[in-house]
Amino acid sequence: MRTPLPIARILRVKALLLPVFAAALLAGLAWGSGGGGPGALWRSIAGLPLEDSVLADIFWKIRLPRVLLAALTGAVLSLGGLVFQALLRNPLAEPYILGISGGAAIGAILGILAGLPRFPWGSLAAFAGAMGTVGLLALFSSWRTGLGKDALLLSGVMINAFCGAVILFLISVTSDVRLFNILSWLMGDLSLAAMEQVALLAAVTAVSAAALFFLSHGMNLILLGRDTALSLGVRLEALTWVLLAVTSLMVGVSVSLCGLLGFVGLVMPHLMRLLFGPDHRVLVPACVLGGGAYMIFCDLLARILPRQGEMPVGVVTALIGAPAFIFLLRRAAR
């Protein structure tokens, strides 16, 4: 009976997933509505001149920020799902279930209605909305309701429902072309990615992912239940709030930049768990790489599948995510 030390396992997982991630990255750069292809991409990387010189702009100035943004968003949402599934000990949890997305959406819509440019003010507004809901969550769950771990979940669901109603209200009173902007943002929109946004999200993601990695053993212990975790020396309250804060920061920024993208946070952690086991020290890096690759892939499909224009990425993640999830359920049942 040998247990490979976790470091060895982590490195093995990374060795498996890094090529997948790299392949997704290259695919995302190579294909798109402006043409290109792997051959041209290779030539561009090698510094060789291209026959169609505008392709260099397309690869590096248009597609690169977009692909990077997709990867970061995928990583953030998958990590968010991982953390919430551990915190709430509920396999259906994902960042949106606690209403953080609802708050971010309200902030973003108000920003659009006020005519603010999407970056940075619109994003700030969305982020403020996300943090607002976290504050509300903190308030509600500090009340002693005797609901235990479900208190957090129920508060979140209620806040989410309320936010949904507010969003519908805002949509209903918007009667001009800003409506389209709102809807396209709501459905997830990576098409206007720029390097400043990527830089911001990269910084936030790097810090958050590192923090979550260091807290990953704590997440393992949380899974044992409140009493056991406490009796093993876990400072449960502090850990819960730090996890919540870090994840909300990361998810808030991502949602504010890219809109609402469902299913990634739900499906990715389960997939990674199925492949690599329940140890969060391995799952954190797995979700970063796997989630990133998945989102790049979905974005690529969103760009090249329709004959005209592009589908909203949020639609692709749901269309793939839902059947994938059902498939996972069946495998888990066996």
Partner: protein
Amino acid sequence: MRGRLRPALLPLALGLLVLLGAGKPEAGERRVVFDQLGRRLEVPADPRRVVALAESVTEIVFAVGRGERLVGTTRFADHPPEALRIPRVGTYIQLDIERIAALRPELCIGTRDGNPRAAVERLEALGIPVYVTHPMGLSAMLASIREIGRLLNAEGRAEELAGDLERRIARVAARAQAQGRRPRVFFQIGVDPVVSAGRGTFLHELIETAGGENAAGEAEGYPQYGAEHLVRLAPEVVVITTMTQGADFEAVRRAWGRFPNIPAVRDGRVHVVDAAVFNRPAPRLVDGLETLARLVHPAAASP
């Protein structure tokens, strides 16, 4: 006499050509312009590859005779029919930056209402100048025709067109003034729910210029109406247009028929018009104006 003139014609013609040619700017030269949002732009003096970021811009470019310079346009550009052959670059709300870049335009012409600011910024970050029009009303639309003419070195044609449109508008306005009263007009642009156009919209200006009183005039933007409100508004003329394809207009007319007390229904003045003419701030809008004038004041026949 003809014999002696003919040899002189050739050098004369050549001389004229040279003179004309000297007046034309060289390709590669740039100049500074200010778009309708007041932004300062550097644009090519004679852009040959232009992408139109809205269907209305496409129509105007063709109307000033520069349609052949368009290398890209938005998805629903269908007028004039030649526009259908131009490659598409997405919709005016969701522009495909990659495709636009791949077409290597020297200039993009967009519109403030609809084109996302972020998209314009992305294009400019790639070194593509974007001229943004802001046709808020009839006179601003005429100004954008003249501006686009200037951008594309078609000032003559643009001035001709704008002047002609101005005259037609003036004629409609004068005839409207000459009528005694202003009938209440309800302009329906949405089928389900019923949506009209209030103050501050193009349609409002059209109705008023055509000699009607906009029944939705107390509201701003695009208000929604329930059946009760419509009955109370009691419009005398109802004009229906809708952006959805394949909507059953007859069914809509019948829906109005449920309220025979509404003057427009009682007098049979519920009309359906072609949406494309009223949607876009382009020359055809004046066609729409004239149609509207005829519907509002049928008695004042055009000469």
